[in-house]
């Protein structure tokens, strides 16, 4: 059967050199987010519907004149499309639920998105694979400058960029990086790393799981403080920590290779076997199997599958994305069948699209 094209998910960030940072075998993705508000418009708390409309008109006008990309008004999207934007990490969970007018701008390269009328008027964020914070921050600031020039930001000499919530004051900058740390999970060193990070004001938490359950050995690392440090120093702090964690992770992986080589090799190939053959598969199961696959590629156990493909499988197999990919609304059971089919096709024809 013919393969569906990935373009069915209009905002899926393409895998290419530009979106590939350092250490993709450990760093799944990097994100930089800036919170900004327009000086002359009330903040979310005091915002009326007409203010939200006004904000949307103003930002659209700025986009039209200075930026290349697409603007989507959220309420004009289908529920599936909204979920998909969320699964692609282009919008936040709270954003979908808002009643007042909201919109999202996504640039042509699909590595920058701007949420309009989130908790702050603008949430400008850049996304990339691998560790790519410096490069990413340059791109994000280019877009930030356009809106600042066109609309004028709320700014105060003492407290910097003014935000709806005091926890974002100052730079309004949140850098976050998703790491894949099966080595640290195996050697039980995760806790140690987490505590060390907290002491310097950096938060680490497991992702995709409910509460404290960590799935797929994925962790998110982000700065907690936004005031009192320069943007480049905030980023440098995170970068340094990440490099330190990468070193520990690589050592842990060496330990694994020495202590449990066959067990891990077995786990990797069994996971690949399931992904290549399963007929019904849930997105949680995919997450765990891809974790093993990612580890196998990073360790050189698997050589003919790219990390780009693993990243694609991770995103496209999410519940809303798989439906958009097939261009139809699917019940959970049908979804599990289609997901298995999509993954089989991609892994058995890695070159095709």
């Amino acid at each position: 059967m013919a393969l569906k094209i990935l373009d069915n998910i209009r905002w899926l960030t393409p895998a290419n050199k530009e979106n590939q940072g350092e250490h993709p075998e450990i760093v799944v993705s990097s994100r930089i987010r800036l919170a900004r508000n327009i000086d002359t418009i009330p903040f979310e708390m005091k915002m009326k519907n007409k203010d939200a409309r006004h904000l949307l008109e103003l930002t659209q006008s700025a986009i039209k004149q200075r930026l290349q990309g697409k603007f989507y008004e959220i309420k004009k999207l289908t529920p599936l499309e909204k979920e998909s934007l969320l699964e692609c990490h282009l919008i936040s969970p709270g954003f979908i639920k808002k009643d007042s007018p909201t919109g999202v701008f996504i640039n042509d390269k699909r590595n920058i998105s701007v949420m309009i009328n989130e908790e702050d008027h603008l949430r400008i964020q850049g996304l990339s694979g691998g560790l790519n914070l410096i490069n990413l921050s340059e791109k994000v600031f280019d877009v930030e400058e356009v809106f600042g020039d066109e609309l004028g930001y709320a700014f105060n000499e003492n407290y910097g960029f003014l935000t709806s919530c005091p926890t974002n004051l100052g730079t309004g900058l949140r850098a976050s990086v998703i790491l894949h740390l099966p080595g640290l999970v195996f050697t039980n060193e995760v806790d140690k790393v987490l505590k060390g990070a907290l002491q310097i004001g950096i938060a680490v938490r497991g992702i995709y799981g409910e509460g404290s359950e960590i799935k797929g050995s994925l962790f998110q690392i982000s700065n907690q403080y936004t005031l009192g440090l320069k943007e480049e120093d905030l980023i440098e702090q995170i970068r340094k920590l990440i490099h330190m964690i990468i070193d520990i992770e690589l050592k842990a992986r060496d330990v694994i290779l020495k202590k449990a080589h066959y067990e891990f090799e077995d786990k990797v190939f069994r996971s690949l076997g399931v992904l290549k053959s399963a007929r019904i598969i849930s997105s949680d199961e995919v997450l765990n199997l891809l974790s093993a696959l990612r580890f196998g590629i990073g360790m050189g156990i698997i050589k003919d599958i790219s990390l780009d493909l693993v990243n694609e499988l991770l995103i496209v197999s999410r519940p809303a994305n798989i439906q958009l990919y097939y261009g139809m609304v699917l019940e959970e059971h049908e979804r599990d069948i289609r997901r298995a089919e999509y993954i089989r096709n991609r892994l058995n024809n890695p070159g095709a699209n």
């Binding site: 508000n37 005091k46 004149q65 020039d149 066109e150 700014f155 003014l162 005091p166 403080y225 320069k230």
Partner: protein, 158 residues
């Protein structure tokens, strides 16, 4: 070396405290150090710090009001959200400590906001004026506004 307190786990944390009459040395495992309150096992996030501090209320909070959006300090403490770009000035003496405790700093040293030409805002209001002028059949005025819009490079003017 085993922990001085539990004598079970290996001691990983060493404390040396010099008192007036003697020096106390402690060798503890992490759990026992946490039990004695010598290390915190969990640090509060900025958001948790904020919500904790916002509970400290004052009878006069309702009287301190932002002159622009009319948000009161009492309302701010309930929601933890500012109402507009002027609130922070209106509340400043009362929230300085709060901000300092959230961020461990009360001074921004990062990028500054460029003053901005605010062209999109200008264009927005010119378009409104143009619409009004056309409705009132004030064609000379409309032509004048159109010229200004053209100066901004806006061509699609009805």
């Amino acid at each position: 070396m085993l922990c001085d307190d539990c004598k079970k786990h290996p001691a990983t944390i060493f404390f040396k405290e010099v008192l007036p009459d003697r020096t106390v040395e402690l060798h503890l495992c992490e759990q026992c150090a946490a039990k004695r309150g010598l290390i915190s096992t969990k640090k509060m996030s900025p958001l948790e710090v904020m919500h904790k501090l916002l509970k400290e209320k004052d009878a006069r909070d309702a009287e301190i009001i932002c002159p622009v959006c009319y948000l009161s300090l009492a309302e701010f403490k309930r929601s933890g959200r500012f109402g507009c770009s002027h609130c922070i000035n209106a509340f400043d003496p009362h929230i300085k400590e709060l901000i300092k405790k959230i961020h461990h700093s009360d001074k921004h040293i990062g990028r500054k906001s460029a003053s901005g030409r605010k062209r999109s805002i200008e264009i927005y209001w010119l378009r409104k004026e143009l619409k009004k002028a056309l409705e009132q059949e004030a064609y000379e005025e409309a032509a004048r506004i159109r010229d200004r819009l053209k100066d901004y490079g806006v061509e699609d003017i009805g």
